[in-house]
Symmetry: none
Subunit: 154 residues, 2 copies
DNA sequence: TTACTTTGACTTTCTTTGACCTTCAAATAT
DNA sequence: ATATTTGAAGGTCAAAGAAAGTCAAAGTAA
């Protein structure tokens, strides 16, 4: 039924590579990976830019030219990271962006699946009877309150 | 004989999908479904907005763009306990009453300490910049959304 | 009338693709 | 030795494509 997004497949592939290797990083070759998924090489960049960002606890290091590579490091999420995110959230945030951060916490095992679901219910757009602007403002408050609680409880 | 409303047909179709799949959620594609019923895609939104609302026990999650989707989650009706609380919460609730319910859930081991802390952070009176009346109203919405998620996830 | 439905034009968000650019190291030429 | 060329990477950006969301106007039913 639901056609999976190529970007998600690539994201999972990279995460699995990392897990299987039992390491906190992987090294890939852009063209090779693009070849595996039969897509444009720049698609790989898109995945890296949208899924393996610092905000999600990943750091990318690469080198061009012959023998070039892309290394993806999974960083450990500290309270410092959470505080950075709280700053980034600012005064308003969309539902998808909020989910983006929640998924990062889940990815790094900072929260459980159930906790993630709970948090997502809170930031769900449909439960708030306000204007889009007000919803984004309120969501930011709620998300930050939850993030602070997580940092405290960690 | 009354001509069945399109919206009702779509509503039933979605509910049947869910039952047949034996799952507490379904994933649909808006355009695809609109195509099945030969209607405007926005008709699907109308059905979701009027029939699959939070107070009817549904939570919607969606994503735009290529490979987009709409997921419809149904609250489990099996958890009578939680549903009773949801009923009791009503349309507005004070912080202390909300904490009282959260503690009760913790007491019965329905949620963990961490989950309780997360929930309390959300119902905290101080984080909301509204009148007392609005805060109580909003808190009720948030608490119910979280309770439904817990019932679903149990 | 009044509330609910249906429709369609327009908007926003997210993804995919491709053409062109930059960097680097090894091979080659001077 | 030093400079140049070449090919092998990865990077950038904008356009095209693929969904879903919004909103208001028009239509229907109670």
């Amino acid at each position: 039924m639901a056609m999976a997004r190529l970007s998600d497949l690539i994201e999972n592939f990279i995460k699995e590579l990392m897990e299987e290797a039992g390491k906190h990083y992987v090294e890939i070759q852009r063209n090779e990976l693009a070849n595996v998924f039969n897509c444009a090489p720049s698609q790989i960049n898109y995945v890296l830019e949208t899924r393996f960002t610092i905000d999600r606890g990943y750091i990318i290091e690469s080198k061009r030219g012959g023998g070039g590579y892309i290394k993806i490091y999974k960083t450990s999420i500290s309270n410092n990271w959470i505080n950075k995110i709280i700053e980034n959230v600012g005064d308003n945030i969309s539902e998808s962006k909020a989910r983006y951060y929640i998924d990062a916490l889940l990815d790094h095992n900072i929260i459980t699946t159930r906790e993630a679901a709970l948090m997502k219910a809170v930031v769900n757009d449909k439960i708030l009877p306000f204007s889009q602007e007000d919803k984004n403002m309120l969501r930011a408050l709620l998300l930050k309150a939850m993030l602070m609680e997580i940092a405290r409880n960690k």
